[in-house]
Amino acid sequence: MNYLLRGIGVVAAVGVFSLLAFSLPSGDAHGDGGGNVLPRTANKAWQQECASCHIAYSPAFLPKASWRRLMSGLDQHFGENASLDPATQADILRFLEANAADSGTSRMGSRVMQSMGVSAAPLRITDTRWFVRKHDEVSQATWSRKSIGSAANCAACHRQAEQGVFDEDTVRIPKQ
């Protein structure tokens, strides 16, 4: 009985693995809008796994080295456990690297890189010099408003952040 179940387990595991291994391609970029609109990128695992607790932050906001660091510490992800199985983790990292700020696939990424040291690998988008400069008109008191809570809560102000749109027309800072 137990051996039978174990056998079934192996078959199931192989099935799942081959599904993951062959569910290519890992995502591509199309067009770059005006520069404040991110290229539409897609990767199923990324959308499924990186958008439950916050928006799926665009790969173009951080360099490859940052994504490698971040993806290798998911069990202690900013104080939360966001761990994944190794196959999914590898799939997502491939996608992030292919579309990272230093991959040359978006104008937004190039701008992020302009103010980044060559060997810098920040874990937070909100710590990058690029982010700080873009948000210098937002006061400390505003960041800590209840409806915002954290600078990482992009969607609180950028109403179309989920769609990768960060232009002026779609920004609205909540009043409290």
Partner: protein
């Protein structure tokens, strides 16, 4: 003895997700009861409610609980630490809940670690679903 049983349990969960067979709160309760070695009637909604509400000291000294993110009323939408909306956890309010064994296992693993600093037992998982199933 324990190991083969464990593999057996994983195999059942693995099968369920590989075949995308529809899991349900009832089928998951049955699975967890079986793993815990109790009849389904041995699962307790009130113990589940206690697990949901009890506050534990968090890493930064702040109290954490399941209710902290999922709100006092699980039929209502909650909020993640970053501020993103979390759809209600109670199946009565959100029929998608507890219909995917792999997803349920993943979040029990993460959230129990975060809140209790350990994994939840099969009994606790069963109790938890028993309680949410009757929450309106």
């Amino acid at each position: 003895m324990i190991k083969p049983l464990l593999y057996g349990g994983l195999a059942v969960l693995g099968m369920a997700s590989a075949m995308a067979k529809a899991d349900s709160p009832a089928s998951l309760m049955a699975q967890y009861a079986q793993q815990a070695g109790v009849p389904v009637s041995g699962l307790s909604a009130s113990r589940g409610a206690t697990l949901y509400r009890t506050e534990h000291p968090g890493r930064d000294g702040q109290a954490v609980s399941c209710a902290g993110c999922h709100t006092a009323n699980p039929a209502q939408a909650g909020r993640s630490r970053v501020g993103k909306r979390i759809e209600p956890l109670a199946p009565a309010a959100n029929p998608q809940r507890f219909t995917d064994a792999a997803k349920v296992e993943k979040w029990f693993r993460r959230n129990c670690q975060d809140v209790l600093q350990r994994e939840c037992s099969a009994q606790e998982k069963g109790d938890f679903i028993a309680w949410l199933s009757q929450a309106r």
